[in-house]
């Protein structure tokens, strides 16, 4: 008699999802699925709204990285107002970049310190009563304080550029609605410890070192857990540098061969398809040239470091070289190395913020550019969790008549399913009982991708967890909840 294991919902990720694992009579895994069970429908209810509302409206998809949606929509609107993503004033673009790197910094800090560090500090199968952010605060207060303060710094950057820490209004079609005053700038450059950029860079270096040290001591776990080859996709700057705000679309395969060669993302529909599967509200994007079966790809920090040729800041570049050397220059396909890549990006974001804060363009007053309106625009950005697509079309009355959003987590749908399957096959297969540690191992795999499930279906929720064992006839055999 076969059995089905259900993990619902998954914890310490953003949103609400569940996992089902199908076992055959010998308890071997025959199939596993990571389902997204929410539905919100943003693409439908933005229809009819004036286009200039989009950057403020669609960011309500998410309270974790609203800046990503705010800026992706603003970039699409730049196209619609005839300015284009590269036509902004230096102040307009640099203020947006500062907002975005502040967002990246706070989100990566949140993810590593609050969501992931409990697994690393206490172990995947540690007592869940300790294995959480409060446990970290009690046992490693220095680390917990760093996490909180780094988030705060990033959030303050967002407040200074967008007007509010969450759901601001800074980016408008064709530019930005404010510059950065000298007083605001000096808060970040010369603020009392620890809330200044120098300390943030110092702590970011320490965070990368923390992970590298952990890696040395736990090589087998970090290198083998949920490792599988894949394609990788991200934006890169035209010269191949890592760029989280703007660039061209590049994809490489597991051997590093370019399979999408620096294309203009306005034409993304020529290259990316979306498959619907009946058991999940989340679509499965794929590269059209490779087809549904082989065209899936990873996005996010790991993919970005696999597609980029270099990082244009000094300290992060040094770490990037070490990261690349580990896989001898080949793409890195180890899911847990996503954390390493994320922390290198954390450091890079801090360095970029320092560069921007010292740039006098941020104090200039030329904020918005106007052009000749067109009907359709696409905005892409590298959100903390990966490439984010926003695509809109307007009618003659300036109202949205079509919206298509492919969020980072959707892009990572197949990889997350593969990661879950890896854990199921390697850690659950042949086992009759489910331990809490096994449940968490499934979550650890999902968590590496830092999914924002509410974004993915454009829905809102939270994630406690339950697992059920169900036989082939659908009878409940065992259930564990937390």
């Amino acid at each position: 008699m076969g059995r089905k294991i259900t993990i619902e919902p998954v914890t310490r990720v953003e949103g609400h999802g569940k996992v089902t694992i199908q076992l055959d009579p010998q308890n071997n895994v025959t199939e596993s699925r990571f389902h997204i069970v929410e539905f919100r429908g943003f693409e439908r209810f933005v229809l009819g709204r004036p286009y200039w509302e989009m950057p403020v409206l669609v960011q309500r998809l998410c309270g974790i990285c609203p800046v990503s949606h705010h800026l992706a929509a603003a970039k699409a609107m730049d196209v619609i107002v005839g300015v284009g993503p590269e036509g902004l004033t230096p102040t307009g673009e640099k203020m947006r970049r500062l907002m975005h790197y502040g967002q990246m910094f706070q989100s990566h800090a949140l993810h590593f310190f609050h969501l992931v560090s409990p697994d690393l500090l206490f172990g995947v199968d540690a007592d869940p009563a300790i294995r959480n952010v409060i446990g970290v605060a009690i046992k490693h207060p220095d680390l917990a304080v760093q996490g909180v303060m780094m988030r705060k710094f990033g959030q303050e950057i967002i407040r200074a550029t967008a007007g509010k820490k969450i759901h601001g209004t800074g980016a408008v079609p064709g530019g930005i609605n404010k510059n950065l005053s000298i007083a605001e700038r000096d808060e970040f450059l010369k603020g009392a410890d620890p809330l200044n950029i120098k300390k943030m860079i110092e702590w970011s270096v320490a965070a990368v070192n923390f992970f590298k040290d952990y890696h040395k001591k736990n090589k087998d776990f970090i290198d083998s857990f949920a490792a599988f080859p894949s394609n990788h996709l991200s934006l890169v700057r035209k010269d191949g540098a890592l760029d989280l705000y703007h660039g061209v679309l590049r994809a490489v395969d597991a051997d590093g061969k370019k399979i999408l060669n620096d294309v203009d993302y306005q034409d993304y529909l020529n290259y990316i398809g979306e498959e619907v599967r009946s058991w999940s509200y989340m679509k499965f994007p794929y590269l059209k040239s490779l087809g549904k079966k082989d065209g899936w790809y990873r996005v996010g920090p790991l993919a970005r470091l696999n597609t980029a040729e270099f990082i244009p800041t000094k300290l992060a570049q040094k770490e990037f070289e070490e990261f690349k050397a580990y896989t001898k220059g080949k793409p890195n396909s180890m899911s847990m190395h996503m954390h390493w890549a994320r922390l290198i990006e954390l450091l890079h974001s801090a360095e970029v913020m320092e560069e921007l804060l010292n740039d006098p363009d941020l104090q200039k007053n030329d904020l918005v550019v106007k052009g000749t309106k067109v009907k359709e625009g696409v905005g892409l950005i590298e959100a903390p969790r990966g490439t984010l697509f926003h695509h809109y079309r307007i009618n003659d009355n300036d109202q949205i008549e079509m919206a298509n959003l492919i969020v980072s987590t959707t892009n990572n749908n197949e990889p997350m399913n593969r990661a879950v399957n890896w854990v199921a096959v390697n850690q659950l297969s042949g086992k009759k009982e489910i331990t809490e540690g096994m449940m968490n191992a499934v979550e650890v795999a999902i968590r590496a991708y830092d999914p924002c499930l509410s974004c993915a279906t454009h829905a809102l929720g939270k994630m406690p967890l339950s697992i059920s064992l169900v036989d082939a006839e659908g009878n409940l055999i065992d259930k564990k909840e937390k």
Partner: protein, 231 residues
């Protein structure tokens, strides 16, 4: 008589003949909340948020002329609750989505809701089906947010004095509308005036949104009425 003597909540006040209670109160540093009233426009008395008590009777302060010896009750618990109820009713009978409204921070209805600490809905939401009209060249009319204050009807006119805005239908079906021919020829300046005059986000100038950053909006740092109130 050149000066009128009267009291508001016991405070001795003076006024000129012909002034309304709202105008006289303002001159004496007393805030009476208003929504449909706009300085310089003929009073309409439609929203009733300025309701005060004179001689035990409820009166609209924006339409009632002040009189010598008048005893006005303004900031009583009963009247403040009426005002809060009016704000709450205006919210539930429209579709007000402050988080994505570009008038947020500049909206008088929102500012009044903050002043009266509207925390939870007392009345059921009606979720009326209302249309957005984006077909005009300069403005969008967002009827979901209209409170029918008639400010636009009274103030926005074509160069020949003809009204551009008007109310069509009656009662619960009443809605703001425009003379399409006149509205076609609205200038940018007139469109901006209409948007600025609208106390909510019902009239929006096209192609410009969220131009004023958070922190610089009208009510970001000063609550509504704080510019009038004096001890």
């Amino acid at each position: 008589m050149s000066t009128i003597q009267f009291t508001i909540d016991g405070k001795q006040c003076t006024a000129k003949p012909g002034q309304t209670i709202v105008e006289a109160a303002k001159q004496n540093g007393v805030y009476i909340p208003t929504l449909c009233h706009f300085e310089g426009l003929k009073p309409a008395g439609v929203c009733r948020i300025c309701t005060v008590k004179v001689g035990g009777r409820n009166m609209a302060a924006c339409t009632t002329p002040v009189a010598d010896g008048m005893v006005v009750e303004n900031k009583t618990a009963e009247l403040e609750d009426y005002r809060k109820a009016i704000v709450e009713m205006l919210f539930v009978e429209g579709n007000h989505m402050c988080p994505t409204c570009e008038k947020s921070g500049n909206c008088e209805l929102q500012a009044l809701a903050y002043r009266y600490m509207m925390m939870v809905p007392r009345f059921p939401f009606l979720f009326p089906k209302r249309e957005l009209d984006a077909s005009l060249p300069k403005i969008v009319i967002e009827r979901n947010r209209c409170v029918q204050c008639l400010r636009c009807v009274r103030a926005i006119t074509a160069p020949d004095g003809k009204r551009i805005f008007g109310i069509v239908k009656r009662g619960g079906h009443a809605k703001i509308n425009v003379d399409r021919e006149l509205a076609q020829s609205m200038s940018d300046e007139l469109a901006q005036k209409a948007m600025d005059l609208c106390p909510v986000g019902s009239i929006l100038k096209k192609e410009v949104g969220f131009a004023v950053p958070i922190g610089k909006r009208k009510f970001d740092t000063k609550p509504i009425g704080s510019d009038i109130e004096r001890a």
